[in-house]
């Protein structure tokens, strides 16, 4: 079931890569090469933490549900959780 979901995500139009990272920063599953994975994992983990703490600082009842970073070349989407992080890099339809 899980495999299918992840495969389906990867198969969507424009998706460049998918990474699953755990709370310690270990990439559990990735479709990109290892150095890129390590870079994305490290940087996005920090950013997600910062974003989450920002949202919670403003309103402690609130919590971060999704993070989308749109850049000139593509969009990085991060779905955070307490233990894991799902990162997808997509080239949006332009």
């Amino acid at each position: 079931m899980l495999e299918e979901t992840l495969k389906r995500i990867q198969a969507h139009k424009g998706v460049i890569g998918t990474i699953v990272v755990n709370a310690e920063g270990i990439p559990i599953r990735t479709t990109l090469d290892s150095s890129t994975t390590v870079q994305y994992a490290g940087l996005l983990h920090q950013l997600t933490m910062k974003a989450r703490s920002t949202v919670r600082d403003i309103d402690p009842q609130n919590d971060l549900t999704f993070l989308r970073i749109r850049s000139k070349k593509h969009e990085i989407m991060v779905a955070p959780d307490k233990e894991y992080l799902l990162i997808v890099i997509q080239n949006p339809s332009e």
Binding site: T5, V15, E24, P27, I28, R29, S35, G42, F66, L86
Partner: protein
């Protein structure tokens, strides 16, 4: 007048307590007004009194100390592996991963996250959420507000003893680097600890130059080779030319031999169009223009002496300050001289005498900048003394357009490569002027004070958007100008052409008139020569003219004095109230 009132107290009463009593008022002194004193004063009417009714405020400026930052990178390494797993071992990591994947929590979480993620991905694929609506409709760009320019970056000379930034050159591809030549142009102000280095700056990093160029003598001018962006050529203060290859380090790859170089500082060096891309030429105030091939720097390939009498006499030569070369006209070039004359030369002439084609005079001081308009090569801009002038190649006697005389000396100028009617000038009081003569002819469209010290050099980047100016204390300022000043307006070329043609025609007509007048004068003096049959008639007639002018002048003065004398008399009589008829007598 003294007013004295005497208090007396008897000695026996010293130290006694004070006894107060009431007394009616007594007049002690009465000073009456003295009308004669009013003669010492004049009535003042009206009296100006300034009243201000605002809140008093004080101003306070605070600036933080300059913060030096250094860029550094982070090395990412996979981390977080538990102690028992060796991250290098593939087997162990794979095993660990498999273990995590079997975890129930993992599966559940990921299913949830996955569905959420899919939603967003689908969203992205369906519609561009950042789509620009109405983009096709061209927003009619009427000068978005005011033309403006803002400072983007400032590059300061890192040495203690500051030198002038005499020349700037943009990197030919992409313009992400700026080469600045530093030297001290003040004669004999060079101190022992003044460094000779010039720098190449990366536009992003203002703290430290990207590369240092170490010449033997400070560089006055510096140019990137437009064909090969690693090669730079520089002209130095002692007259030598040197070239660098940025891949080979800070020392010059080769320098010209001292005996064959210039004898004065080299003020301008330009790369030529050639198949090999190694030719260049340089100009200096010693009156020579030398051609060099950088593969063989021991001797110049060609030499031209700027002697207006065309005899190749070095003593007569005009010192050259600026050079102009347009790649579309490779055989012609122009030299701006110290004497305020622009000399147009033909490189392919057979004899040295024919090399100098014509001269354009009209400036009072050395010509610091000379450049052809990139859109209209027949017209060129010169910047010298207190004005900037635009010339047409056909009219030799005067410029077709010129700015008013400024308060400060103009030190450099150039055309905008993006718009034919825009040019930039910098002045010794630290201001940058941007002129757009289709918009306003009398004043600059934008005048900006860049810094407090004098600005010595200016260079526009090829896209016309960024420009760099160098100042006396070695500060190179990078400015960005608003898009209105660097995008071609509709009709601009046509309007500029029309303006240039109109001004050229006007000058031609004036020239023709002058010529006619001169011819008439000459024929008249020829006639009088025949009548008198005297030698040196021309000179005498000049003296006569002078004497005549003097006589006329004194006559006019005397007439004025007489008239004034009559007026004075009239005034006096009026004042004394004499009979009106008597006026008529005088």
């Amino acid at each position: 007048m003294e007013i004295v009132y005497v208090y007396t107290k008897k000695r026996s009463e010293f130290g006694r307590q004070c006894n107060f009593s009431d007394k009616p008022a007594e007049l002690h002194v009465d000073i009456l007004p003295d009308p004669s004193l009013t003669d010492n004063f004049i009535d003042r009417d009206p009296c100006d009194v300034a009243i201000q009714c605002t809140q008093e405020m004080s101003e306070h400026e605070v600036n933080t100390e300059r913060f030096d930052c250094e860029p550094c990178g982070i090395n990412h390494v996979e981390g977080g592996w538990p102690k028992d797993v060796n991250s290098q071992e593939m087997e162990q990591t794979i095993r660990y991963r498999k273990k995590v994947e079997k975890d129930e929590n993992y599966v559940n979480t990921l299913m949830q996250l996955g569905s959420h993620m899919e939603h967003c991905i689908r969203q992205n694929n369906t519609i561009d959420i950042y789509q620009e609506y109405f983009e096709e409709e061209e927003i009619v760009e009427e000068m978005e507000g005011q033309p403006s320019a803002k400072t983007v970056n400032v590059f300061r000379d890192p040495n203690e003893v500051k030198r002038t930034a005499t020349s700037l050159s943009w990197h030919p591809d992409g313009s992400c680097k700026l080469a600045v030549a530093y030297s001290s142009m003040e004669f004999q102000k060079v101190t022992k600890d003044m460094s000779y280095d010039s720098y190449i700056w990366d536009l992003e990093n203002t703290n430290k130059p990207e590369m240092t160029l170490k010449p033997v003598s400070p560089l006055v001018c510096l140019e990137y080779n437009p064909k090969d962006s690693h090669i730079l050529i520089g002209g130095s203060y002692n007259g030598q030319i040197a070239y660098w290859d940025t891949r080979k380090g800070s020392q010059p790859v080769e320098m010209s031999a001292v005996e064959h170089s210039h004898r004065d500082p080299v003020y301008k060096v330009i790369w030529l169009q050639s198949k090999t891309g190694t030719d260049s030429f340089s100009a200096s105030t010693d009156g020579q223009v030398l051609w060099w091939d950088i593969r063989k720097m021991s001797e110049p390939t060609e030499r031209l002496v700027l002697d207006p009498s065309k005899k190749g006499n070095l003593d007569n030569a005009l010192g050259a300050f600026s050079l102009e070369f347009e790649t579309t006209m490779p055989t012609k070039f122009m030299v701006g001289t110290e004497q305020g004359v622009v000399v147009s030369c033909n490189r392919k002439a057979k004899t040295p005498a024919e090399k100098i084609v014509c001269t354009y005079s009209g400036h009072y001081g050395p010509i610091y900048a000379l450049q052809r308009n990139p859109f209209f090569p027949k017209n060129f801009l010169t910047v010298a003394d207190w004005t900037a002038r635009i010339w047409s190649e056909d009219i030799r006697d005067s410029s077709i357009m010129w700015t008013k005389y400024h308060m400060a000396y103009l030190s450099d100028g150039c055309w905008s490569p993006a718009r034919p009617s825009v040019f930039f000038t910098v002045k010794m009081d630290g201001t940058l002027d941007i002129w757009d003569f289709l918009f306003k002819q009398n004043d600059p469209t934008l005048s900006l004070k860049v810094c407090d010290e004098a600005l010595y050099s200016l260079r526009v980047q090829d896209n016309g958007r960024f420009l760099g100016c160098g100042s006396q204390l070695g500060t190179a300022t990078l400015l960005e100008i608003s898009s209105g000043l660097c995008t071609l307006q509709k009709n601009e070329k046509a309007l500029a052409t029309a303006m240039f043609e109109r001004e050229t025609k006007r000058e031609k007509i004036l020239e023709a008139c002058h010529r006619e007048m001169r011819l008439k004068e000459r024929s008249r003096s020829e006639q009088s020569k025949e009548d008198e049959a005297k030698d040196g008639e021309a000179e005498e007639s000049a003296e006569e003219l002078v004497a005549c002018a003097e006589r006329e002048f004194y006559e006019v003065v005397e007439a004025e004095m007489k008239k004034r004398g009559k007026d004075d008399k009239k005034e006096k009589e009026k004042y004394e109230g004499k009979d009106g008829c008597k006026e008529k007598e005088s």
